[in-house]
C-alpha cells in the first residue's frame, strides 16, 4: 500500500505494514513510557526514535544539561465560560491524556514548575477560539498545558509559538464524549529556536478531534502528536503543513493508537523544502489493536522538494492486529518540482518564480482549506507566500 514516486536524491521513503502479535511501535522505543526522566537513558542518536534528530543541536534538552534559565511570555485569550488555572503536577488532569514516550518529553514533565489547565465546560459551544500565544524571550523553558474539553462542548484552540526559545513541553487534550475540538499549533519561531513537544489527545466516545500542526520556523522542531481513544465512535483528523528552509530540521512523528472499536483516523501531512540541508522527517505510526474492530484509518505524507540539497525522511508504519476493519492504508510520496510542469507553465508566459509559486500554492491549497479556521487559513497562505519570496 505504500507508494513512493519521483524520489529525488537525498530523500528516503520507507513504509511497512506489519501484522504482529506484539507491537513493534512500542518495542522499538528505547524505554517504556514514563513521567520520570530517569527512566530514559540519554540517547546517543542511533535509537530508532532519535536516529533522524540532530542531538547536538538540541541545546542539552536530551541529556539533562539544559537548565530552566529562560523566559517565555504566555498569553491566553479565553472566551467567556472558559477557565484557566495554574496547577501543580499532582493535579489529576495532568498526564491523563498520555505519558511521555521519550526522554525529552519526560524531561519536560520532570522540569516544569506549574502546569496550565484550560477547561471548557460540558456542552459549551465557543463562538471564538481560545488563543494561546507563547513568545520566547531566549533561554530554556519547560511547560505543560492541559486542555480539558467537557462532553459535547465545541472549541477551537490556536497555539502560537514565536520568538527565540529552547522549549520542551507536553500538551494534553482531554476531549470529552461527543465533543468537537480543533487545535491549531503554529511553530513560527525565529530560526534559532529549538522546540520539542509531545501532544497527547484522548478522544472520548463519539468525539471528534482535529489537530493542525503548522511548522515554519525554528532551527530544530520536533513535534510528536499522539492520539488515543477513550471510547468507540471517536474520530481524529491530524493535518500538518511544514515549510522547511535551508539548515532547518523539522520533524513530525505521529502515532494513532486504535485501541477501541469503531474509531476513525485520517492523517495528512504535506511539506515543502528548499535550500541546503533543509531536513524534514515524517514518521506516521498507526496501530490497530486486536480489540479495534471496525477501524477506518488512512495516513498520507507528501513532500515537494523545490531545490537541490534538501532531504526528506518519510516513514509510514501501519500495524494491524485484527482483520475486522473498515479500511487501513498509508501513502508516502516525495516529489521534486517537476521540470516538465515548469516548462508547461513557462511556455504560457508565466515567469519561473510565479510558476513555482503557483505550484506550491496548489500543493498546499487543498490542505489549507481543510483547516476550517478562516484567519488561520489566510495567515498560512500569506506565510507560504513569504517563504516563497525567500526562495529565489
Amino acid at each position: 500500500m505504500a507508494e513512493a514516486q519521483n524520489l529525488p536524491v537525498g530523500s528516503t521513503t520507507a513504509g511497512s505494514v506489519a501484522v504482529a502479535a506484539e507491537s513493534t511501535v512500542a518495542t522499538r522505543m528505547s524505554a517504556p513510557p514514563s513521567f520520570d526522566v530517569a527512566d530514559f537513558p540519554v540517547p546517543h542518536g542511533r535509537e530508532e526514535e532519535w536516529r533522524f534528530t540532530p542531538l547536538d543541536r538540541l541545546k542539552g534538552l536530551h541529556d539533562g544539561t539544559a537548565k530552566a534559565d529562560g523566559a517565555l511570555k504566555a498569553e491566553i485569550d479565553a472566551p467567556e465560560g472558559v477557565t484557566v488555572e495554574s496547577v501543580g503536577r499532582d493535579d489529576k488532569r495532568i498526564g491523563k491524556a498520555g505519558t511521555p514516550v521519550d526522554r525529552i518529553a519526560a524531561q519536560a514533565f520532570s522540569s516544569f514548575e506549574k502546569a496550565t489547565v484550560v477547561s471548557v465546560p460540558k456542552e459549551q459551544v465557543l463562538d471564538q477560539p481560545v488563543r494561546v500565544t507563547l513568545h520566547g524571550e531566549g533561554g530554556t523553558t519547560f511547560g505543560h498545558t492541559v486542555f480539558d474539553i467537557g462532553a459535547f462542548a465545541e472549541a477551537v484552540i490556536v497555539i502560537d509559538h514565536t520568538g527565540d526559545a529552547v522549549r520542551a513541553a507536553n500538551v494534553d487534550f482531554i476531549v470529552g464524549d461527543g465533543a468537537k475540538v480543533t487545535v491549531v499549533s503554529v511553530q513560527d519561531w525565529d530560526d534559532t529556536a529549538v522546540h520539542v513537544s509531545q501532544h497527547n489527545a484522548l478522544v472520548g466516545r463519539d468525539a471528534s478531534f482535529k489537530s493542525v500542526v503548522v511548522t515554519f520556523g525554528g532551527d530544530v522542531v520536533r513535534i510528536h502528536p499522539r492520539v488515543n481513544y477513550a471510547g468507540p465512535g471517536g474520530e481524529a483528523e491530524l493535518l500538518g503543513l511544514y515549510f522547511t528552509d535551508a539548515g532547518q530540521h523539522q520533524e513530525h512523528r505521529l502515532l494513532v493508537d486504535h485501541n477501541v472499536p469503531h474509531c476513525k483516523s485520517n492523517v495528512v501531512y504535506k511539506g515543502a523544502l528548499q535550500g541546503d540541508d533543509a531536513h524534514a522527517v515524517w514518521i506516521g505510526d498507526v496501530l490497530i489493536e486486536a480489540a479495534a474492530e471496525g477501524t477506518d484509518t488512512y495516513e498520507m505524507n507528501r513532500n515537494l522538494v523545490l531545490t537541490d540539497g534538501a532531504r526528506v525522511d518519510s516513514v509510514p508504519n501501519l500495524e494491524i492486529e485484527t482483520g475486522e476493519i473498515v479500511g487501513a492504508g498509508h501513502a508516502s510520496a516525495t516529489g521534486r518540482f517537476d521540470d516538465e510542469q515548469l516548462f508547461y507553465l513557462m511556455a504560457r508566459g508565466i515567469p519561473q518564480v510565479e510558476a513555482r509559486r503557483l505550484v506550491v500554492r496548489g500543493f498546499f491549497a487543498e490542505l489549507v482549506q481543510q483547516i476550517g479556521v478562516k484567519d488561520i487559513e489566510e495567515r498560512l497562505i500569506a506565510k507560504i507566500e513569504t517563504e516563497l519570496e525567500a526562495t529565489v
Binding site: F343, L345, M346, R348
Partner: protein
C-alpha cells in the same frame, strides 16, 4: 507583420549517454496569416522542432538561428518566448496538481498581456471560449490536465490558443488521439484563430486527416531532421495517397 524565421537550425539531445543530432539544418519562414503543415514519419524530428522553438531545456541548439520579427528567439527564456508571441500546443500536456484551470488561465493571460484582464470581461471571455469548444463550465474548476481525457487535454490547449492570441502558433500533433467529433471541434477552434489573420500557424502532424478541416497554405515534408520537400496543399494529397515511404527509403533519414 509578424515573421518567424528559422535558419539552418541544428539541435541535439542527450540520450543514453550519447549526444544525438535530431535537427540537421531546418530552414523555414512563417509569416502572419500563413498556415504551414509540417508532415513527416515518426522519429523524423518534427516534434523536436516544435519543442526547440518553445525552448524546452531537453534540447540543445548547436547552430542556426530563430528570429521573430528580427528578435533572437533562442536568446529568450521559455516564458519570454511565450510573451513575445510564440505558442506551443503540446501533444502531451502535463498535469499540474493543485492548480485550477481558471487560476492557470488567468495567470497566463496576465503574463502574456502584461496586465491582469478585467475580471468581469475575463470571466465572460473564458466562458464563451469554453462554450465554443464544447467544454463544460465545471472544467474551469478542475486541476490543470489532471484526469483529463485525451480530447479534453487538446481542447484545453486550443482554449489557451484562443485566449492568448499568439503571433506564432505551433500545434504539435494536436490531432492525435482525437475522435472525429473532437477533431472537428478542435479544428474549428484553430480556424477561428487563423481567421483573425493575426497568427502564423505551424501545424505539426503525422496524418493528413486534420488537413480536411484546416487548409494549409504550404505543406513541408519533414524527414531525417530537415525539410526535404515543400509544396502547396496538393502535396498533402500526394502524401495521403503514397505515404512517407519514398522519403524514408530514399535515404533522407540516413
Amino acid at each position: 507583420m509578424a515573421t518567424l524565421e528559422i535558419r539552418d537550425l541544428h539541435v541535439t539531445v542527450e540520450a543514453d549517454n550519447a549526444t544525438k543530432e535530431i535537427l540537421k539544418g531546418v530552414d523555414l519562414t512563417v509569416k502572419q496569416g500563413e498556415t504551414h503543415a509540417i508532415m513527416g514519419p515518426n522519429g523524423s524530428g518534427k516534434s523536436t522542432l516544435a519543442y526547440s522553438l518553445a525552448g524546452h531545456p531537453k534540447y540543445t541548439i548547436t547552430s542556426g538561428s530563430v528570429t521573430l520579427d528580427g528578435e533572437d528567439v533562442l536568446e529568450m527564456e521559455v516564458d519570454e518566448r511565450a510573451r513575445a508571441g510564440v505558442f506551443l500546443a503540446m501533444q502531451y500536456p502535463v498535469e499540474v496538481p493543485g492548480v485550477s484551470v481558471s487560476n492557470f488561465l488567468r495567470t497566463s493571460a496576465t503574463a502574456v498581456r502584461g496586465e491582469a484582464p478585467k475580471l468581469r470581461t475575463w470571466v465572460k471571455e473564458v466562458k464563451e471560449a469554453m462554450e465554443r469548444l464544447n467544454m463544460d463550465p465545471s472544467f474551469a474548476e478542475r486541476n490543470v490536465n489532471e484526469g483529463f481525457s485525451g480530447g479534453e487535454k487538446k481542447r484545453h490547449e486550443i482554449l489557451q490558443l484562443e485566449l492568448l492570441k499568439p503571433k506564432i502558433a505551433i500545434l504539435d500533433e494536436t490531432d492525435s488521439g482525437l475522435d472525429v467529433d473532437a477533431l472537428r471541434i478542435v479544428s474549428e477552434g484553430i480556424n477561428r484563430v487563423r481567421e483573425g489573420g493575426e497568427v502564423g500557424t505551424l501545424l505539426v502532424t503525422h496524418y493528413t486527416r486534420i488537413l480536411r478541416y484546416i487548409k494549409p497554405d504550404y505543406v513541408h515534408v519533414f524527414a531525417g531532421g530537415r525539410i526535404v520537400e515543400s509544396g502547396g496543399a496538393e502535396l498533402a494529397d500526394q502524401l495521403e495517397a503514397e505515404g512517407y515511404d519514398k522519403y524514408v527509403k530514399g535515404g533522407a533519414t540516413a
